[in-house]
Symmetry: C2
């Protein structure tokens, strides 16, 4: 394995437009610059407040009948745009041979196009900076959040909406040779989206690229610190951040018994990469899950009112409609459907040092909208309110442990928003808590259901993030969050 890995380091791995060196080393320098180079933290907050004032946005819930350009298809009842673009809300029947609810039907958002989520990075005074955007979205709880350089659906960038051109698109459409730091297709919420994936890119650009009106250059250290603020760094930015090359050493500082971890041997993972991949393969094939697209009219257990489609018991989420008017003259008003979750989500990661190497407890989670059946998810993921009616043994494992420990020992604990262009006030509490022991074992032996969980090193997660369909979107936020506090 040593041999093969070494041979993969290529002459082409330097970036074309930078001053050279490994991307990871240059990112480490940027991560250490916590008060900025191009813009101080104080200046950032002043600028960001100003962006919020400059981008006032009125979002008003409306009945479906007042939507402009959107309507229910007469035959199917699917909610769709008259152009056939953007996205459609249709029904999905899910049948599986496992879990407390083996069969159900639900509405789901189908957006077959690939969008681009991209962050441009540029060296300023010898330090890599990320070009971040202050961008308002109708579903955001607070209007403007910190977003990637570019966040565009194909409908956006091919200008179906008739709006203005997407800024910085060219840097991502035709990146210079050697300038790409990350580029993969990554999934989004597999319970709300049907097989949606976006292209996640990080591209290094040259000094000719400057920050426009709603953009600023921040160091990685600054962005990492901002991740700790509630509802500030948006989901699109977080997923792209997680795809950055891992800039951190595999072994951090000291191990828990106080001895410094210096040996190369300890820079290892509990399970080999082959074992981890084999375990995930097993999870993907051992159960049957069959999803069938349905006309929205035929979905049972959900009710359509004049201003919402909701679950008969008020659980999970509803589909609503909003009218959006911007304070900016160049942006016309529009209306659109949004998915409104029924409660605040919880995504929690238990982490643990094993021989000085930080590991995270990942769960292989099947979601009906994922292209490849199951992806690595956080230890705990869900909306606690949706499980309240289930008996304790059917609630997500480790939820209680995570919440009990998190009050005192959380490494990370912030409420962050999911994508505000599709979801309305979709908040999720992201928690990372360190444990000392292997919680997969109890006094009576291995915990029931332990096969769905594996301790994986953060380095292994970084390697998997180079590929598609490995970590789900909640896990990716937690990888970005974990790196921000190490």
């Amino acid at each position: 394995m040593h041999k093969a890995s070494a041979a993969l380091t290529s002459r082409g791995s330097g970036t074309g437009s930078g001053t050279g060196g490994e991307p990871a080393a240059r990112l480490a320098v940027s991560a250490a610059a916590t008060d900025g180079v191009a813009m101080s933290n104080a200046a950032f907050f002043e600028w960001f407040d100003e962006r919020r004032r400059e981008q006032p946005q009125q979002v008003r819930r409306i009945p479906f009948s007042e939507l402009s350009g959107w309507g229910f298809d007469q035959a199917t009842g699917n909610l769709q745009h008259r152009s056939g673009r953007f996205f459609t809300v249709h029904g999905l029947r899910v049948r599986s041979d496992f879990g407390p609810v083996p069969e159900w039907e639900q509405p789901i958002i189908n957006q077959p196009e690939f969008g681009i989520l991209g962050i441009a990075v540029r060296e300023i005074d010898g330090v890599l900076h990320l070009l971040m955007q202050a961008k308002s979205e109708p579903g955001n709880i607070n209007g403007v959040q910190l977003s990637p350089t570019i966040q565009a659906t194909k409908s956006n960038y091919s200008r179906v909406h008739g709006g203005s051109a997407v800024k910085y698109l060219e840097s991502f459409h035709r990146p210079a040779p050697g300038s790409v730091l990350a580029d993969s297709l990554q999934s989004e919420q597999g319970t709300w989206f049907y097989r949606k994936r976006n292209r996640n890119m990080v591209v290094e650009v040259g000094p000719e690229v400057e920050a426009g009106e709603d953009f600023c250059w921040l160091t990685l250290g600054q962005v990492n610190a901002l991740l700790g603020f509630d509802n500030l760094v948006n989901m699109d930015a977080r997923t792209v951040l997680s795809c950055l090359p891992d800039w951190q050493p595999a072994v951090t500082g000291e191990v828990s018994d106080g001895a410094p971890a210096t040996s190369l041997h300890s820079a290892m993972s509990l399970h080999s990469d082959t074992e981890v991949r084999s375990w995930l393969t097993q999870r993907r094939i051992e159960h049957e899950i069959i999803t069938t697209a349905l006309p929205l009219n035929d979905v049972t257990g959900w009710e359509r009112w004049d201003d919402r489609i909701e679950h008969e018991r008020g659980r999970y989420f509803s589909i609503i409609a909003v009218d959006v008017s911007s304070g900016r003259r160049e942006v016309p008003a529009w209306s659109q459907p949004l998915l409104h979750p029924s409660g605040v989500g919880l995504a929690g990661l238990l982490v643990r040092h094993i021989d000085g190497v930080l590991h995270a407890l990942m769960r292989a989670r099947v979601e009906p909208g994922l292209l490849d059946i199951a992806e690595l998810a956080p230890t705990v993921q869900g909306t606690p309110g949706n499980y309240a009616h289930l008996p304790a043994e059917d609630r997500p494992p480790f939820q209680e442990e995570l919440l009990e420990r998190s009050t005192e020992q959380a490494l990370f604990d912030s409420v962050l928003s999911e994508e505000g262009g599709r979801f309305h006030h979709a908040e999720c509490r992201y928690v990372i808590t360190e444990v000392a022991d292997d919680v997969l074992e109890t006094e009576d032996g291995l915990r029931p259901g332990h096969e769905e969980f594996r301790w994986m090193s953060v380095t292994q997660l970084g390697e998997l993030l180079k590929y598609s369909s490995q970590l789900n979107v909640q896990a990716r936020t937690l990888v970005a969050a974990l790196r921000s506090v190490r």
Copy 2:
């Protein structure tokens, strides 16, 4: 990158049941043992001839009406088994925004279950041996071919067919900790199968596992040599072989100018791994391809006769029915549909040493049945007869170059069979030819369409083969073939 890669080598990478050491090093020893340890080459051929005599099989084409257990659904016309298992032949409409034929309809085989293709390896006299099977399949041109240890659909191993238990299944269902050498989901023919993937596994077993009646232990060197014989090593064995950890040094012998390639720096690839992944991501998103399942009755351009469903111009393939009777008393006779291709396929790889490192010219190929749109395919792939009616500029690039050069310079040139359980007499000529120059460049600059092609090192291909949806099944055969002749 060095750091991260080194950290991924794990304490768990040794195999549990062997004598230890890196799998790649132990495989290299096995590859060097070209005349066997447990069984000599002479003894193998004698044994294999005997297997052919012991497994006589009569395969007779029959009209669909004589199929037992299979029939056309009254409403859809789909050809299916009355149990609902095995596979179904339905229709597919394909619409894309590229290529000489942007829209067409065709029958396609849908087999949503995951099968297992697995090879058990075991150390005998200090050398790893592969447990290979002499197995007959109704579509095989010559009855028995050399197959993996286990080759089982879920219908097989859950015994839907009422037959006997699948041998060696337990070694793959519950492999010992640390015994897995490879385990991933790999695609099969994306023009004949709709999203079919099988689990490809290599598992090390202990001395308690012995070769049963139709099985033998061969070294990797022996299996590699057998790959060069026409129609001997079956498709299932070839794809599993391609998933073995790469046992070969990245730099082979001498570079073309006669200087030995010893520097670590030359053990590199023309394009970095990040660049290769980014290029494949771009290929996957840049075109639209929309596939829609159709009732077989509604497929245009195809005609159903009493004993075949064929294209109106006789191209591509036909669906036929066969009756199979075995000479063995314990195997009952059965009948089933098969797909019969209309001509011998061609899969060719141009390879080239770049600074002493062997590279292959891969094409990112969109196939309608692939789960993830496009995978890496050979330089040339297709059935030349299907393109004969197209103007020269619409025929596959490099086909002429490959065939011209191959007569004198082929590193590998064998006719091999595709899976005989689904395909009838499906032969494909696999050719590997080395070129001295970068054929992507012509006198006038870069060749048109060059963006679909990339030179990738064999080491990079081996790294990608650890993951799903990266190399298509024809490319995997050529990787196994290329390693067999290096």
